[in-house]
């Protein structure tokens, strides 16, 4: 099976989820036979990012390098990816289910006239038939699906595909496709970082999430302190109640009208556990809940709980985590 993994870089750095996508493709190729290539689009020097993709399992790293590709451009990226898929005769094309991947993959699917499975959490092949597992209803249920026709397209949920694969040759191949930005109607005016370097809640491997129990947006520094103590891979999340109240941005919302997340470790602090919220975080590896109410539904999904006043528990937790990490 010929597989293409469309990877992502931002500001000249490979995004963590990219190697997950390549490795997931390589694992599948090792079962089904065949190999995985990576497709990397970026600035003129983007080929310098190729070696981790080879280590992640890519046989070849196809590179489209151009000033106009330095940042994500929906029109340009969609045209180039579609062409690379057609030219390479790929049977399966994998993207990351990031905001970029979920924007790009549908455009490519429509250009190639094939269906798309977004945000999959499982991928397998038996007797030549590809199967995908996708959460629906924000994780309240899971579907197993097949796609008619080729290539099959899917975006992979970050943090879920944690397999390993043998390194590939990672041979860099420059694509010969002409890049002509004048034909791209969309103007990308700017990208504004949220003013911090912390990972997005959907990609963070550790999430510290707060709810109504925090009582006031002024108290969020307590969550931020814990997050910082947990290290660079930790992000912040929020319940729908506090987003609706305007305490936190929608980008942090976990649950059915927000993001569905699968971190290794999830702290739910002052979150009672509405059904929409539980749907969005129940696939986390380990769940810790801190809540004053021992009957809060969040304790039904939590692996570990502390009943008590979060304003006493949080600072202590931050202190203990800091101590632990300083000692390790």
């Amino acid at each position: 099976m010929k597989i293409l993994a469309v990877v992502e870089q931002r500001e000249g750095a490979l995004r963590g989820v990219s190697t997950e996508v390549v490795t997931a493709g390589a694992e599948l190729a090792s079962v089904a036979g065949g190999e995985v290539d990576a497709l990397l689009l970026g600035a003129p020097d983007v080929a310098s990012l190729a070696s981790p993709l080879g280590e992640a399992g890519a046989a070849r790293v196809l590179v489209a390098a151009h000033e106009a590709l330095a940042g994500y451009h929906p029109d340009g990226y969609a045209a180039l990816v579609s062409e690379a898929v057609r030219d390479g005769g790929y049977e399966l094309v994998l993207f990351a289910a990031t905001s970029q991947g979920k924007d790009l993959a549908p455009r490519v699917a429509a250009q190639l006239d094939v269906p798309l499975a977004q945000d999959i959490t499982g991928l397998s092949v038996t007797e030549g038939v590809l199967r995908f597992v996708r959460p629906v209803y924000a994780g309240k249920a899971f579907t197993r699906i097949t796609i008619e026709g080729a290539p099959a397209l899917a975006t992979l949920r970050p943090n879920v595909f944690q397999g390993s694969a043998e390194a590939g040759a990672g041979e860099v191949v420059e694509l010969s496709t002409a890049v002509d930005p004048t034909g791209w109607p969309t103007q990308v005016v700017w990208f504004e970082a949220a003013g911090c370097d912390i990972p997005d809640v959907a990609e963070a491997s550790v999430v510290v999430a707060g709810g109504r129990g925090m009582k006031d947006p002024e108290h969020w520094h307590l969550l931020e302190d814990l997050r910082a103590a947990l290290g660079n891979a930790a992000g912040l999340g929020a319940s729908r109640a506090v987003v609706d109240a305007g305490w936190r941005p929608h980008g942090e919302q976990v649950g059915q009208t927000g993001k569905t997340v699968a971190p290794r470790l999830y702290f739910a602090v002052g979150i009672s556990g509405a059904i929409q919220h539980l749907a969005g975080m129940r696939t986390a590896g380990t769940i810790v809940a801190v809540n004053r109410d021992p009957d809060a539904p969040i304790f039904k999904v939590a692996d570990y709980g502390i009943v008590g006043d979060l304003f006493e528990v949080l600072p202590r937790l931050t202190e203990e985590v800091t101590k632990l990490r300083a000692g390790s």
Partner: protein
Amino acid sequence: MNIIVCVKRVPDTETRVRVGDDGVSIDPSGVKHVLSPYDEFAVEAALRLREGAGSGEVAVVTLGDDSSQETLRSALAMGADRAVLLKGEVSHDGLATAKALAAEIGEADAPLVLCGVKAADDDQQQVGPMLATLLGRPCATAVSSFELADGTVRCRSEVEGGTALFELPLPAVLTITKGEYEPRYASLKGIMAAKRKPLEVKDAAASPSRLKVETMELPPERAAGRIVGEGADAVPELVRLLREEANVL
């Protein structure tokens, strides 16, 4: 300016999901259906634009069966001017949906098409950009706010770790997320008026689903956890468990 909003009828997000007897979809008994929350944001955005301009028409379009008429009436009650029900199969294949919508929208005089960023049932998050691609129009997704200026639309899109600003020439397709457009409640007057607004029913352009759902299952129950203790005194034990038992610190 005329605006078309693509909407979908979905189970209320409060729904406790059970798998139906067919094993591939949810058990519909006792399930309340609503206009998908993200589509409500899109309808709200369209209404504000029309109100700001003082002219133009907001049409809502859906693919579905007759039960979707109720959903269209909800959008009409919010203030949309007319509705179109494209009768046809609703599947998890967003491209099939996008084709049915494109056949309806392609000829319409509507420079702006809005969709919710995703439907709150299959979460496929793809119909908007697929529709745009089929129509040959530019598209911005996950737009939290936008404004029109000189034949273009400037949109702010939510992306990981920040915001991107795109400028698209009209006609264009946007998918709307939570942000600027907290939806209004339909007034009693709006609900009464909606009953008399035009709702056209026609057959959708046939486009079979090529994405087959083999099984639908509930997620595995999480094993019962434990309360480590009460108050700050329980913290050292929690940290020990996270480190030694769960291996996550």
